[in-house]
Amino acid sequence: MKDFREWLREDRMPHIYCTGCGNGTVINCTLNAVNQMGWEPENTVFISGIGCSSRAPGYIITDSLHTTHGRAIPFATGVKLCRPDLHVVVFTGDGDLAAIGGNHFIHACRRNIDLTVVCMNNYIYGMTGGQGSPCTPLGAISTTTPYGCDEAPFDLASLATAAGANYVSRWTSYHVKELTRAVKAGLETPGLSFIEAMVQCPTGYGRRNKLRDARLMVQWMRDHSVLMKKWKQMEAEGRPLPEDKFPVGEFVRRHRPAMGVPEE
């Protein structure tokens, strides 16, 4: 098996990510999962929109499309429908996917097109300097929510589940083993697979929200994530679900009719 580093475009280094950014962890986990699938670079395509997360395909040696803001999934749809034999992975972020690309996201889940969508959710727009996104938590400070965010955020994993994706899970950059396994499960599942990877952005988010560095942000994610089994148990027992915490793990794995699945 290849080393995951063999998938990297070394002449593009150094990358643009800030010190302490969590995106590298997600790229690492994704490439490890791709590697474990035994896929070759010539039949794998990475596609992205705009934002920090979307710079990822530029650092990978495969064919790749770095497209327009929010539109990665419809570009990927065209590639996949014409060449179902290619493995197509989409990198996106919370602003790219849930704000400007929200409509494409839910329709791709409904169509259940055979893509794996990995969303690096850092709760803000990182590339433009830390503005509020549809995933900014209530009360959080960003450059466009200077008095605290007063809009309720999206729960992306639940959204994908409700919209019909065949595989959905959420992990964080703290949970690298689980995240890698989840991406691999997504790659293996025919239909749309959605993996939400919560990541730290100490530069754009943390320093404005008393989580000054990467270590504090990763600790925060560790301490505020609750394993799905425990979360469901709390729900079943009618216990109040902690508002400042979120479930991590597998949301759904099913076999709704899918599009763009290669013939055996």
Binding site: P41, E42, G58, L65, P74, F75, G78, L81, N103
Partner: protein, 366 residues
């Protein structure tokens, strides 16, 4: 060999695309272009192609561009409001040199305007709708026959120059039915493939790089950011941006002679109609009715890049009359290229100019 059919313009458009090898259509319903999508939905699955109805026009053109990178001839069809939504990714297709065909069956605008009436109000939008400097190719059919022929030709132009190519039809041509001679085959000019190991965005003298089809081991990174010849983002170096944009524009503008496609009637004329699309039908009748060698016609089949030199074929011209279903969009372009007076003859609301109306105006200049 040909066979005779009696087709609607939109059907001829779809059939022309299929004859040219189009095997992917991504679209969204909109009047008056919908029949193109409906026909593709019926036909493509039967011949190993893909039809997909996307969630909006932003997604439609995105899917078309994605499909094109797999080496598939791909198209969409839309009208005014949908065309406006496509502008963002048309810019992406220009920047990434993605061949694709976009049919715009023009209707009255701005905004929702007149969904069922003809217009040529998007001629400047197709040329300049994207932000940034760029050039594109546009053809304009004046008959059902040309809906077929020019749509097929648009694929060749898109592939040859690696640029989005527009079929700028209008509601009259798209919804009329007339006799068409359908050829057994159409000429197909394949896109030139990138040689293995060559830089993916390095172009030869014609300014057009070879195409690195996905899934063939080229490992090409395609980005809408300003990029160098490797395809790598290089968005702060003034020289890289200058060279890239000048090449993207130059490869189209410098080929205006080789892709020119127009008809000249009475080259010694003094009063010359310049037209394209459905108004060209009224002009044809006017010139025939007037039967005067002093009245001529220039009819454009390729409108962009604009064939400025075609105006100069009329050595005796004293005035160019430009009937359009807009307030003078191509008239303004023509005026840029000649010292001879150019007079726009606008018609808004969806009706064609009548030959009598055009003859009366022409007589005023004789």
């Amino acid at each position: 060999m040909t066979r005779l059919e009696f087709w609607q313009g939109n059907i001829a458009c779809a059939e022309g695309a299929l004859a040219a090898g189009c095997r992917f259509f991504g679209g969204y319903p909109i009047t008056p272009s919908t029949e193109v999508a409906e026909h593709m939905a019926r036909r493509l699955p039967k011949i190993g192609g893909v039809f997909v109805q996307m969630e909006d026009e932003l997604a439609s053109i995105a899917s078309v561009i994605g499909a094109s990178w797999t080496g598939t001839r791909s198209m969409t069809a839309t009208s005014g409001p949908g065309f406006s939504l496509m502008m963002e990714n048309i810019g992406y297709a220009i920047m990434t040199e993605t061949p694709c065909v976009i049919v715009n069956v023009q209707r009255g605008g701005p905004s929702t305007g007149q969904p069922t009436r003809a217009s040529q109000g998007d001629m400047m939008q197709c040329r300049f709708g994207s932000h940034g400097d760029s050039s594109i190719i546009a053809v304009s059919p004046a008959s059902v026959q040309e809906m077929y022929e020019l749509t097929a030709k648009a694929f060749n132009l898109a592939d040859r120059y690696r640029v989005p190519t527009f079929v700028m039809a209008d509601e009259i041509i798209a919804h009329m039915r007339e006799r068409i001679e359908v050829p057994d085959t159409v000429e197909i000019v394949e896109r030139r493939q990138l040689e293995k190991g060559a830089l993916p965005f390095a172009a030869g003298e014609d300014g057009v790089p070879g195409f690195p089809t996905f899934g063939q081991g080229h490992g090409v990174h395609v980005t809408g950011l300003t990029h160098d010849e490797r395809g790598y983002p290089s968005s702060t170096d003034p020289g890289v941006h200058d060279r890239l944009v000048r090449r993207l524009v130059g490869k189209v503008e410098e080929a205006r002679h080789e892709m020119a496609d127009y008809e000249v009637t009475n080259p010694d004329a003094e009063v010359v109609f310049v037209s394209y699309g459905s108004p060209a039908r009224s002009v044809k009748q006017t010139v025939r009715d007037m039967d005067d060698e002093r009245v001529g016609s220039l009819r454009l089949r390729v409108v962009w890049p604009f064939p400025d030199f075609a105006l100069h074929e009329f050595k005796n011209a004293r005035v160019f009359l430009v009937p359009e279903l807009n307030l003078g969009q191509i008239a303004r372009e023509a005026a840029r290229h000649t010292a001879v007076p150019v007079v726009p003859i606008p018609e808004l609301g969806g009706e064609l100019h009548t030959p009598a109306q055009l003859a009366e105006i022409a007589e005023g200049y004789l």
